[in-house]
Amino acid sequence: MTDLFAYDFMQRALIAALLVGLVAPAIGTFMVQRRLALLGDGIGHIALTGVALGILTSTSPIFTALIVSAAGALLIELVRVRTRTSGDVALALLFYGGIAGGVLLIGLAPGANTATLTSFLFGSVSTVSTEDVYAVIALAVIVLGVLAFFGRELFVLCQDEEVARAHGLPVRLLSAVIAITAAVTVVIAMRVVGVLLVSALMVVPVAAAQQLTRSFRVTVALAMGIGVVASLGGVSAAFYSGADISPGAAIVLLALAVFAVSVGVGQVVRRRRGRGPVPQKGAEAVPAGTIPQTKPGSLDPGSPST
């Protein structure tokens, strides 16, 4: 374990991974509940255009990726609301636009080609610089701050948009908050897992956590825990394998393994919890539920004739 921390680049990699594992599932829980599980993936593709733009204009790719993916996230919301396009089609449009834009722009950049994009596609956590670490810390603080500030409203919005409107909540503003927060998270996570796998860290830990929980709050906390374990585990695995293993891939596969285990555990727990009272309740509930349904319809008109 000591050699893991002996290298500066590993320390930076572990800090970045820790923050990504913490933040991505937190915003991811709201996205999953709002049925926007693939929003992160869409934004990731758009971020690629931002990265290419940064390389083309010799500015920080993280900065341009932040601007472009935030704009793209808002665009997804607009397309979803304004045109009669369903959420998944709106996402698809941006997926392809983002990839095409990235490949096009990188071709225009002197001395760069699509290979330059590879480190952003699959992540390159070992090349994270000190400045990158500060940027990631700042972005993580912003994301967690926004979630703490708007959490209550976002919970209502993601539960039922119409109820949110009837509470007088600013639904458009809150939707934009989710979209932009997701975009910021994507840019943080881009260096660690790459834009192609970014969405996995927002969705898979949440999917794993919700197999085991009954409460929203606990789901968020558990998903963050799973995210941290998977991120640190993945980066460590890459280190000990002597860089044969891609850290991004290891992180995502670890999270998927946790998901598989929690599906099994969740079923056992539910069965055990249900074994006592639930079958009894179910046996009572079936006649109680069916008789009143049939009674007014079929028994009442029948009874005078018989």
Partner: protein
């Protein structure tokens, strides 16, 4: 007959309601709502005074749910106006006074939430930022859970409950915010007979306490004794506005705007089936 009983109850609770100078809970004037340029609500006008229990009735596609959404500002008006407690719906800010009960609990993406979390989220319009729930907030949540009989399920996931129990969660969520004006969309839909009785009792308690209750229904059902007034919609216009008793017998020749005056003795206490 049961209607008369509820009349007595409601007149007894008349002291609880604010003086008549208070603006009506809802004032709808010539409201038109269109979906894709096609009018769904076509020029509806009525007022719901504070403390009244009103059913908005109509068959599927009559525009009753759309009207209700327009009354809450969820869908925009093509023309006309809606006022809530004397303020135009766009400028209305006092949303803590409104308790909306949607038709069913939305599952969303399937992330679990406990009964208590969902009920407590009804306080979103009145809770301050960065503050933990106050003792009064928590007491309101407990009281809301108690009044729908779900205290013992508070820690369970809402997805584990039956449809009727979920409906009670939604009513408790509205109660937790402490509103004085309730708008309920088909609260009895998909609820078994035992739960219907429990729900009817909860709504009766609300009415007794002086709350305004607007119920969107396709039939009066077990709520019939509570309802003081029925607004019936058909094809986007009001075809009856008055006591629910004489609904079918008197509806064809009632003009929507004069119906308040026409509601004197016009309703003979005939037991007419309200639908079918």
């Amino acid at each position: 007959m049961s209607v008369e009983v509820s009349r007595v109850e409601s007149s007894a609770s008349a002291h609880d309601t604010p003086p008549s100078s208070a603006p009506p809970a809802f004032r709808v004037a010539d409201a038109v709502v269109e979906y894709d340029r096609k009018p769904v609500v076509r020029g509806v006008s009525f007022e719901i005074p504070h403390g009244e229990v009103v059913a908005v009735l109509g068959a599927n596609g009559s525009g009753k749910s759309t009207l209700m959404r327009a009354m809450l500002g969820v869908v925009p008006l093509a023309s006309g106006s809606v006022e809530i407690h004397g303020r135009p719906v766009r400028g209305f800010r006092d949303w803590g006074r409104i308790g909306y009960v949607p038709q069913r609990l939305s599952v969303g993406g399937g992330v679990p939430a406990t009964v208590r979390e969902v009920v407590a989220s009804g306080q979103v319009a009145r809770r301050r930022r960065w503050r933990r729930a106050s003792a009064a907030d928590r007491a309101a949540v407990e009281h809301a859970l108690e009044s729908v009989g779900l205290t013992d399920r508070a820690r369970d996931s809402v997805h584990e409950l039956s449809g009727g129990q979920q409906q009670r969660v939604l009513i408790a969520r509205a109660l937790a915010g402490g509103p004085d004006t309730f708008v309920m969309d088909e609260p009895m839909a998909g609820v078994d007979a035992a739960n219907q009785q429990a729900l009817a009792r909860t709504i009766a308690d609300l009415a007794r306490s002086g709350a305004t209750v607007v119920l969107v229904l396709h039939e009066l059902g077990p709520l019939a004794p509570l309802i003081e007034r029925a607004v019936m919609l058909s094809d986007g216009v009001v075809v009856h506005d008055g006591p629910p008793g004489g609904l079918l017998s008197s509806s064809p020749h009632l003009h929507p705007h004069t119906s308040d005056a026409a509601s004197l003795p016009a309703a003979p206490a005939l037991e007419v089936p309200l639908r079918d």
